[in-house]
């Protein structure tokens, strides 16, 4: 294998745009971290650990910060979650570990678990120490992982620690999937995602970039490898299905976020309308503000009670100056050569609970850029086309059906995890899926080997 350029060095130097995306939660220094760590009660069977999809032993890593054992602290984190640094920044901890902290019932602020986790992980990265794990003794098994996002990375790490070869295939030029391209820069900078994956690569993971796997490719992988892990995430963002959608000036939230993170998008027009009210819509709207838009709206079919964004994300967006229009449905996009506005129709509830457009309530919101963020399609088509000889991979509502404990699909040679199985959740959920699948694949391979 030729000498590889480390991932963080493969991207252009920090652009001016990045300066607009300073840390949402700044790092702690030692003198702040240690008293905060000492505040932790060291709960037994801790609710924070239970709430974490990867079950990081939170009290344990926090007590190690208190005692000054920072390398032990980072190891505790990585042992449970190989993307511990990314998750410390990207996790919605308000509904996970910090939301579960018993301090809420003690009339006190929860322990700042995320910032403490970042403190331990930053210390490891600054120390220049290698990943505190070694690959396991080679088993001779080989696993193909489709997609190089958080699920596949976590799965690959478990496989390598168990001595199984891991080949990752990804359509993009860099690893990490949405962890690298899809998390708001003020939460997780692109370079931090790559730094962490670079460390993971010390386990001897084989990356195959800019390689798109189609049905035929999947069949080939099945033949070449002992098992296949599908960490393929979700597909393209849904279309609205209204007139004018093809006009220049209509984009989607994932392209917008990936664009500014990778430096290909550095400016934005003044008037931006984001359609949809999920967490990704919020990220896109805030990005538009930070990129210089003066007038940013989020439009949503229903009310604030029904939006899928977390409450703290909604509050953050309002603080950034994003305006919300509720109970409106886009019914057309206006413009001659490019987008000039979005036609919205007001919606109202009927007695039977359904929502219907109110006649004659149409109005046009002027806009230079329309950003769609109304959910992603799935890859179910590609999978149904790839029925293999060892069995079909069962898909339900576009999601790959798995055994949650092992990640195994209805075709025993195929395992899966992350957004393609859960319909789109957080990085930490994908890591947890990948971890369970890595353990599951290794156990399954070993069992196969014994019976042969």
């Amino acid at each position: 294998m030729s000498e590889r350029v480390p991932f963080p060095e493969q991207i252009a130097a920090t652009s001016k745009v990045a300066e607009r995306f300073g840390d949402l939660h700044p790092p702690l220094d030692r003198q702040a971290a240690v008293p905060e760590a000492n505040r932790c009660l060291y709960c037994f069977d801790a609710p924070c650990t239970n709430a974490c999809p990867t079950h990081i032993d939170v009290p344990r890593f926090i007590k190690k910060i208190a005692s000054g054992n920072l390398s032990g602290s980072a190891r505790t984190i990585l042992d449970a979650n190989i993307l511990g640094a990314s998750c410390s920044r990207a996790c919605p901890v308000e509904v996970l570990c910090e939301g579960a902290c018993v301090m809420h019932r003690y009339n006190k602020q929860p322990i700042q678990i995320a910032r403490l986790q970042r403190f331990a992980m930053d210390a490891l990265h600054e120390s220049g120490a290698p990943l505190p794990f070694e690959p396991g003794a080679e088993t001779g098994f080989s696993v193909a992982l489709v997609g190089a996002g958080p699920a596949s990375l976590a799965c690959a790490a478990e496989l390598r620690r168990r001595g199984t070869r891991a080949d990752l295939y990804d359509a993009r030029p860099l690893p990490g999937g949405l962890n690298t391209y899809g998390v708001a820069e003020y939460k997780l900078p692109l370079v931090e995602s790559l730094r962490e994956i670079e460390m993971l690569a010390q386990l001897g993971v084989d990356f195959h970039f800019e390689t798109r796997i189609d049905a035929a490719g999947l069949a080939e992988l099945e033949q070449k490898h002992d098992a296949v892990f599908l960490g393929i995430g979700l597909g393209a963002i849904h279309q609205l299905g209204v007139t004018g959608e093809g006009l220049p000036g209509v984009t989607n939230a994932l392209d917008l976020i990936a664009g500014y993170k990778s430096g290909s998008l550095t400016t934005i027009p003044n008037r931006v309308v984001v359609v949809g009210a999920g967490n990704t819509a919020i990220d896109a709207a805030i990005a538009a503000v930070r990129l210089g838009a003066t007038d940013v709206h989020i439009v949503y079919r229903r009310g604030p009670e029904q939006m899928s964004a977390f409450t703290f994300e909604y509050e953050h967006a309002k603080n950034e100056g994003v305006k919300f229009l509720w109970h409106v449905q886009p019914t057309g996009i206006h413009g001659s050569r490019a987008v000039e506005g979005i036609e919205l129709t007001k919606l109202e509830s009927t007695d039977d609970g359904s929502i219907v457009p109110r006649d004659g309530s149409e109005f046009v919101l002027e806009a230079d850029l329309i950003v769609l963020s109304i959910g992603q399609a799935t890859h179910s088509g590609f999978l149904s086309a790839s029925s293999s000889k060892s069995g079909k991979i069962q898909v339900e509502r576009g999601r790959i059906v798995i055994d949650r404990a092992t990640g195994q699909t209805s075709n025993p040679k195929f395992f899966a995890g992350g957004d393609c199985t859960n319909g789109g959740r957080e990085v930490v959920d994908a890591v947890a899926d990948g971890k369970r699948a890595g353990v599951g694949i290794a156990a399954w391979l070993e069992a196969q080997h014994v019976t042969v």
């Binding site: 060291y42 037994f44 709430a51 079950h55 939301g99 809420h104 029904q306 899928s308 930490v428 947890a432």
Partner: protein
Amino acid sequence: MSPSKPTLETTFCGIPCLNPFWLASAPPTNCGEQVMRAFDAGWGGAVWKTIGEPITNVSSRYSSIDWEGRRMMGFNNIELISDRPIEVNLQEIAEVKRRYPKHVVIASLMVESKRESWHEIVQRAEDAGADGLELNFGCPHGMSERGMGSAVGQVPEYCEQITGWVKERARTPVIVKLTPNISDIRIPARAAKRGGADALSAINTINSITGIDLDTFQPNPNVDGKSSHGGYCGPAVKPIALNMVQQIQADAGSVLPLSGIGGIGDWRDAAEFILLGCSTVQVCTAAMHYGYRIVEDMQDGLLNWMSEKGFATLEDFRGMSLPNVREWKQLNLNYQIVARIHEDLCIGCQLCYTACWDGAHQCIHLDRTSPVPDTTRTPAMVEIEAARKISTTPIPKLDTGGAKRISTVTPLERIPRVDEHHCVGCNLCSLVCPVENCITMERIDKDIPAESWEERVAKGLVPSGAREVMSTNT
């Protein structure tokens, strides 16, 4: 309750005191300028930094123990007695007494163990106007290597003899300051009393090494890469001091007016020392940490507490807790308490559970949601079950009610249950519980007359072989 305002005025072996708060012989009483500022702040007395032949100190003299973010929970020093000439100290004592005639100035003394030397220093200190003398038989570092300080306090014969020499010449009360670096504080206390001491003060600092630097392997405080054992004090030593104070006050051969010292930082600490029989208290570390100003709340807080309790003077409660400190064999064996967990206050940390299993008697269980009580489930089993659970990030649309992860009500399965039949009433769970009054210890013995070990032995209820085990060293 007494309608009149209580007073902090008191007397200590004949010396009238504005209040019981004295600064101990230490850096805060090094010179007249300091002592006068301390009196202005409200201190009732000061024991002057020990006067003797001037010494040379080392640079780097103090070190401390921090406890989870709080500084100086334990404090250590290797400073010696005053490094200023005797005549300067005595001139300043005279000056302070002239300007603050109602405030108490005690001269702390330490000279070589010769009768004439002691006679001379006693004469000079009293001529300067000191209200009393404190004999420093306690300093544990440096001076002890030269046959002074704790080298005297640790040998009852020396202690008695030097006290006697001082008493031959002294016209003011003589206070002997005791070292805790002995096996039984009563032995030197009795010696001092035999020697004619008018009062005692206790405790001096405790031999200590506060810590080792893990990068340089050098102990603290660092003097050119080396250190020496120092004297330990501050909040960490208060329980040790209280015990020694009680031992002195409960021993007929030792008991004398006592000035309590050791970890006193506020009025509560002071009240505890007075409840165990002290007439005044001496403070050093807290004043070094926060300055003389701490005495304001010491006065204010103690007066407010006295008002609440209906005490008019310190004598109204001095020694009040002494009868409550008994020998173990006199404690009621039929007194039985058990832990009760108050669900409404429980935050579900389960520290009581792990403490009871690992540190006590395995009688707290996590079975509130089990169909039947389950006392066989161990902490390891609980942890294995937890590791198997699959959690996901709750998303409002996908998980109804899932995003409401923040709960102000503790789920029942996280509230431990006390098996009252097996609870021995050790208190550990209530001590580790972070929430005040969440775990209370409730009395459950009903209508059983009190009975002590001593009484059981007297009734012949105890096998003969077991009796001697409990005997104490009185």
